[in-house]
Symmetry: C2
């Protein structure tokens, strides 16, 4: 089995090395990671500048590249040019901090895994729900290894993207696994305004998460309840329910060739 490992915290982050040190026991590992932290880059790609890829030696890893680009660049470049064609699985993480609810849209970690699926590989994004500097990734990495062993038995289809969030707790305090839906994450006091020495305003993005009632089936609730959350993610963003509704809303204005209806 061949696994491509990536992340958005950069090649120096502890999370990716914790992951590698567990996965190398069960698979041939390839690594493509950004040269520096690229959190909150979402699904951005580098199209107006060239992307550098520098080969790096990592113990027990079959091939590793440090990429001067976004997490999505890393996966695109590794799967199409750098790594072997027959990569079986992409794993992105372990992110230092959670990726829950609508926040997955901003997440470089989840976007890198999403790109794995776009490139035809089943993919898993893994995040540890803690920003604490000294946080230990060992248990989270061990869990990912066990999860991959389970999926090797039960199967994982190529179009599958799983978003995994792990509570920052000792193993014996984790209550189990829940297969969840994405919850809600709304922020308050999003921007902090400052003035530069010339009196011009600038803003820092920040803010706190609004305390909201969560669906008990959600990823947010699972973490609050000390469960590991696994959310299957769908990359077809079409809202099929609304298609019918908008066909009705625009029905007076939909014209077909030969039809006498005019554009609105």
């Amino acid at each position: 089995m061949k696994i491509l490992v990536t992340n958005d915290d950069g090649i120096a982050a502890r999370g990716i090395h914790a992951l590698i040190s567990e996965l190398k026991h069960i698979a041939e590992i390839y690594v493509a990671s950004p040269d520096r932290e690229r959190s909150a880059t979402g699904h951005s790609i580098t199209v107006f500048e060239p992307i550098k890829a520098v080969k790096k030696k990592i113990a027990d890893v079959s091939g590793a590249w440090v990429i001067g680009g976004t997490p999505v660049d890393c996966v695109k470049l590794a799967i199409s040019r750098l790594a072997p064609e027959d990569i079986d699985l992409v794993i992105s993480g372990i992110n230092h901090g959670p990726n829950l609810g609508t926040d997955v849209l901003y997440s470089g970690t989840v976007s890198a895994a999403a790109e794995g699926v776009i490139m035809g590989k089943p993919s898993i994004a893994v995040s540890l729900d803690s920003y604490e500097e000294e946080m230990d990734f060992a248990y989270a990495a061990k869990f990912v290894k066990r999860m991959v062993l389970t999926l090797m038995k039960t199967g994982i289809e190529s179009q599958t993207l799983l978003n995994v969030n792990i509570p920052p707790l000792p193993e014996d305090q984790i209550k189990g696994i829940r297969i969840t839906r994405l919850g809600t994450r709304n922020y308050e006091n999003l921007f902090d305004e400052r003035q530069d020495p010339r009196g011009n305003s600038y803003y820092w993005m920040g803010g706190g998460i609004k305390d909201e009632e969560q669906d008990p089936e959600s990823d947010v609730a699972a973490l609050e309840d000390s469960f590991i959350s696994i959310t299957p993610i769908n990359l077809d963003l079409t809202d099929y329910h609304l298609i019918q509704q908008y066909k009705v809303k625009f029905k007076d204005y939909i014209y077909t060739p030969g039809d006498s209806h005019d554009i609105p």
Copy 2:
């Protein structure tokens, strides 16, 4: 009616000014646009640097800001701090180039509109299916105005995101409107490898779109058939179908408090 206009091609792009010049006849306009082109930035946000916002005068516009950030930053900052609280609608565009199928994930234009929905406002992303430099945005802008007038009559809910793509054709050659689903966009020869003067490899992202059979209900097919495509987009990325499947796959490993099951 108050409309926030944004884009990812930057404040100097012709597409946003074409849009403003039509919409100002039907609504009070506010503008928050990046200071330069920010295409392919996806849903990235600026969290490690401060964001500058400079007020700008635009004729017949009630408030305009040029933002030193991504398209999503523009919408977050405008809705939470710069524009009036009672913005009714966010319109992002008109993008110079299409935003179809899975490519919507990379699109700054669509991501800006998605952020409008996250901030509680119904939002529309608009793209003109042409990269031609001298392309005329006038008809596309006129269509958006008519579309907004239609929605003012038929209603648009706050959680609604519509992705609109317009063929680069004279008005009398456009065959109508189709309410569509997202199609597929796969690329071939994604990277072009070069060598720097010291012999190190670097890569340009590029490549061509693979010619694939398209679902006739898709946005890609609509454009190929000279129709305007309107795709409703859903930002709950949960794959509800897979939840059940993964509950089964992991059932031997799901333990609840007091349960004797062990973690895998």
